[in-house]
Amino acid sequence: MGQCFSDVNGGKQAVGGVATAAASGPNDAVDHFFRARGEHSLCTQIELSLSASKLLDLDYTSKSDPMAVVYMKRRDGKLEEIGRTEVILNSLDPTWIQKINITYQFEVVQTLILHVYDVDSKYHNLPVKMLKLQDQDFLGETTCAVSEVVTKRNRSLTLNLHNTNRIRGSGNKGTLTVRADEIVTSRNAIELKFRCSSLENKDTFSKSDPFLRISRASENGGYIPICKTEVVNNNLNPTWKPLFLTMQQFMSKENPLLIECFDFNTNGNHVLIGKVQKSVAEIEALHQSRACANLISPPSGFRHHEKVMKSQIFVDGFVEKQQYSFLDYISSGFELNFMVAVDFTASNGIPTSPNSLHYIDHSGRLNAYQQAIMEVGEVIQFYDSDRRFPAWGFGGKTPNGSISHCFNLNGSPTDFEVEGVEGIMAAYTSALHNVSLSGPTLFGQVINKAADIAGHSLSCNQAKYYVLLIITDGVVSDLQETINSVVKASDLPLSILIVGVGNADFKEMEILDADNGRRLESITGRVATRDIVQFVPMREVHAGQISVVQALLEELPSQFLSYMRCRDVKPLNVPQL
């Protein structure tokens, strides 16, 4: 318990399996490293199992010999083959054994295209990889998103196969069933408690503010950071909060890990105090024998070699645990419910002017608001079973003449929901005609409304998690009021994503993000339980780069997990781990 809480000072949050959302400040080595190399801290390996039924029979003397090929649609629209099954002889209802492995990414829509071929008997002795697909008989194709598969109760989705004008005749082409299973190692985790003694003082006027960073050895000889502890202030004998390492992160118990102890500096130049290299198995041995390891200090000054220090590191806790993964919850019926709030303040500019942030370009180019709605909505819609999304506007003057800071985007006086992402877009476009832009920029009412909905859902069950997307062009006018609302909502199943559009200076908004480590405090003295706000300014994204909105979405699974694990909420109807 207690993993919900973050420490007080700058950028000092722990990054581990159950910790609060990873700090994404400009100097965070872990996050930057992952983004630069395309590795994601919470990526999950899943394997797809395919089967089909009632396939077309194209062979005259016997039945078809089917094989399935799986493609992923890339960002540029091209198809990339990710795997093939084996060929099953003489069957119109094959269940293929060969699994296809893919990496599940929450923050993007991963579109799969599946083709089924009938392999001619003259190729039956060739390895499947070498088969030329254009020489085979095409039986049908289908498409789906990976998230559609993993959100199904039994993680299994059955799709109809289609004609693509390559097959003569119409009629039933059969069905294809895709099942996704998580590779089991994503559930294994180890809870580690570290302590150090006699650390060297690297600060001039006070003591060091130490934190640990753990990295694993990579194939090309370097080290990849996998997690870090929180910062303990002004302490040369620190004890850190427990750290969670998942098997995915450390790979195997024999894999050498590098544990580095740094002194935290607010300017980001953390000074290395000492380091030690141990595998998970060696860390386990240290814990069991209650021994300690000495840190090794880097070369410094005139000394060009490393030196064993008097500083020691102890392993006070080593517990192997099984944790339910994000997909365990999702496929058991947990949902992410999407809500959106759009800024109708005058600073956006009159919608009819091409310079306005609300300008609707009829050639089809989306404005910043539409882009943000699409990018977030398209990903989250699969995790919402009824696709009915609450949508509000704030800061605008409604047709009845009064300025509202939480009006229904669809114009209805009572119903705040719209259907699907296309429903949000339609409501937004029509609201631009009916609502005149006004001000000021206040988030409080919208956040209270979202918190109200999230809180009420708890009476029915605890299987819904809400995501409020606020798109704004300006800095919030009443920061303390907004903070009060966020603090009140911080113990609810709610995450707030704020996207800043336009060119305003959003520096003040980063206070809401609490990534600098300062927990938000309401005027009543209550402090936020967890960091539920993520803020990102939306700037022009160059082709190929990771979109900033994707970066926002990456944090959601871990925010969801930290809420569920903290309360010991388990997936529905799953066997005990």
């Binding site: 207690g2 800071h405 705040f416 209270n448 809180g455 339980t529 967890r530």
Partner: protein, 170 residues
């Protein structure tokens, strides 16, 4: 005459940890920091002392205490020995009533203020009302906001409060 004790329901408070606690501007000595939970003038219960912590103690200790029906808030006080580090008043509405279901486990954190009203650390707790069924013991002052039309917002208190915090409707 037999005194009729007013009805009450038990609440379960788990005192989890503290952050940034100081006494006389210095971290408290080891093995002295404890927390007292008070739900009424004569109802209080304390945790044990944390052996290691000092400024960042952790207890993870569960306290079950009665909550009188007319109570509006509970108080938590952190002490180092006999010296008061700081206290906070927790309104009932923060952990029960309103939109929260019965028996909901609330994780809450509060700013502690010392005797002079200065900020002095944060206390992390979880609270659950154990009583059967009704939230009659909770002074629920939530009102459902109307949809679409803006509701009148109460002005927030601008000053520092060390006594009873004002709870205001959404």
């Amino acid at each position: 005459m037999k005194d009729k004790t007013p009805p009450s329901q038990p609440i379960e408070v788990t005192v989890i940890s503290g952050e940034g606690l100081l006494i006389n501007r210095k971290p408290p000595t080891k093995n002295t920091v404890s927390v007292t939970v008070k739900t009424g003038p004569f109802l209080s219960c304390s945790t044990g002392v944390d052996p290691d912590g000092r400024s960042f103690p952790s207890w993870n200790e569960r306290i079950v205490i009665d909550l009188p029906e007319q109570a509006r808030f509970i108080t938590v006080e952190a002490r180092s020995g006999t010296g008061l580090i700081g206290s906070a008043a927790i309104p009932l509405t923060d952990f029960c009533g309103g939109c929260l279901p019965d028996g909901y486990l609330s994780f809450v954190s509060y700013r502690l203020r010392d005797a002079t009203g200065e900020k002095n650390g944060i206390l992390n707790l979880s609270i659950r009302v154990k009583g059967g069924g009704q939230s009659s013991g909770c002074a629920a002052s939530f009102s459902k906001p109307s949809m679409g039309v803006p509701g009148a917002e109460a002005k927030p208190c601008a000053g520092v409060v060390t006594g009873i915090p004002v709870s205001y409707p959404y």
